[in-house]
Symmetry: C2
Subunit: 323 residues, 2 copies
Amino acid sequence: MRDVARHAGVSVATVSRVMSGASNVAEATQSRVQSAVDALDFVPSPAARAINSGRTYMIGALVPTLDHAIFSRFLDALELTLADHGFSLVVATTNDDPEREAQRALDLLNLGVEGFVVSGITRSATFEALIKRHKTPVIATSYFDPNSETPTIGYDNGTAARQALHHLVDMGHSDILVLSGPTWNNDRTKARLDALTGCTQARLTVREIPVTVAAAADHVATIPAHITALLCLSDVLAQGALHGLRRCGLEVPEDISVIGIDDLPSSHSLWPPLSSVHLPVRRMGACAGETLAQWIETGERAAPINLETRLEPRASVRRITPA
Amino acid sequence: MRDVARHAGVSVATVSRVMSGASNVAEATQSRVQSAVDALDFVPSPAARAINSGRTYMIGALVPTLDHAIFSRFLDALELTLADHGFSLVVATTNDDPEREAQRALDLLNLGVEGFVVSGITRSATFEALIKRHKTPVIATSYFDPNSETPTIGYDNGTAARQALHHLVDMGHSDILVLSGPTWNNDRTKARLDALTGCTQARLTVREIPVTVAAAADHVATIPAHITALLCLSDVLAQGALHGLRRCGLEVPEDISVIGIDDLPSSHSLWPPLSSVHLPVRRMGACAGETLAQWIETGERAAPINLETRLEPRASVRRITPA
DNA sequence: ATGAAAGCGCTAACAT
DNA sequence: ATGTTAGCGCTTTCAT
């Protein structure tokens, strides 16, 4: 910047003014500086800028993985909203491992992120301490809990699971196999499962398997005969189940009914179209972005937001008359 | 930091040493400083750090959208690799709009990213100028062109399209409808289409529609009768076609064959399992991350890499005897 | 309208 | 092993 100043025959202060588009600079000087900038190919240093303003305009997002439609869809909406507010999105994946999450959070903090969007409400102690220290705003998503210490913007996972279950029960099913992803370190899944147990209207068998199409497809080969319906805690699982069932020669919904949770965009074009509980992840991304931006600009802690989930009954569940 | 130094009765230099984990600090002093740090809840400033080191350890990724499995899968692998090299990933979406891409690139540059990963090889003039100025390393992906000015790490889109076409031809099809996404500002799609035209072994009809399941499903209702096969330039389109065809009462592959390009993880569990051309996007993400990290650390411009695509014949294409 | 100068919070010589 | 000090590249009073 000194070079530019010299080249333009002005002071660094003036160059700084021009660079930040200040109003009180003479037209003539302005263009003289601009010429110098162009001539020297001057590019300002973000770090130096940040050190003075104290701002970086970066938000960190910590998600289990990017390789799952539910999270990437969420992030897409989040990024769009954040960009509207002048923020950029730094993403880091945690694989649902709290220690790794804390590690990545530290990395992002060292980059200078001004706020975090995280998944679920389970944090490692390290993470908590980090946040307390830096006083960084954090918003937890994919979960709603008005009493959580960090504000949550999400849906009630228990309700979502119950919506799926009740649909099955309404349709006359009482012998239900629940296909769940790992509950280990996954409070979203745990909340869904917890809401199911204690249900007295049906006999539930729970199986915990990896959240992959392949795992679900393989698993359904071992379904007990009395089962009439499959409640999959995520659409990926349901999609795998559909595939596996077909491989076994079973028809959905004639031989067995299947319902999922997520309502991925692709689910309604499966065969048969998958009944599912819709999770408003795009809305969640937009809300989280909006709210976090607000929090950072105003300093006022965000309020939790509960987004409604919605049953999408389609063809993969059929009505049966209890035996 | 001054405060910490005072509190610990040492100089700022010593605090700095402790903070950066230097070796030459006495045990005693070290813990004294640590206490002061804890007592004062001191957190170092990333900006100040960056201004001295001249490094930010941030990489920017510019992709059309996060809400498409092909890109999020790619980014997942990229993020993982980058993290291994100590870099963090800043993502921005461009919606395939060169102007928006340039705008977002500027934003990221102002954040301080040390390198870019972009999609395709079409850049706006603004973008080119920006890069020249900042001398930022850029790697173009999802495209292979050894002669491109910016190094490409990707696959040959033309080859991928031809692999799909040849499979159809090999199976006896000669009346083929090509379902393509918008070519406007999308050099990947354009390259696929270009490779197809000039093919003399089949009669090709090309239709350009939005890349959504719904658009494809709707479109297939208007297929000319003589068509025996659908070549979809992406799996999303193929998935929509499968759905739409079923709605029309047509059987795949009995009445009509369908092939896609992408080979998304979900494609082989569709019904019928979708024949597709596999695009190695995870490998591409890992390669791009590795290569860009290398480039930044060593200063040596990256070399282009061509990743092989691979035909995955499955059940959605059947052999026919030409009429 | 412009310039001089004092920082911002840290690192890296250099000195002790 | 520790302290002193000179910056890093910019912004921002405060003068003029």
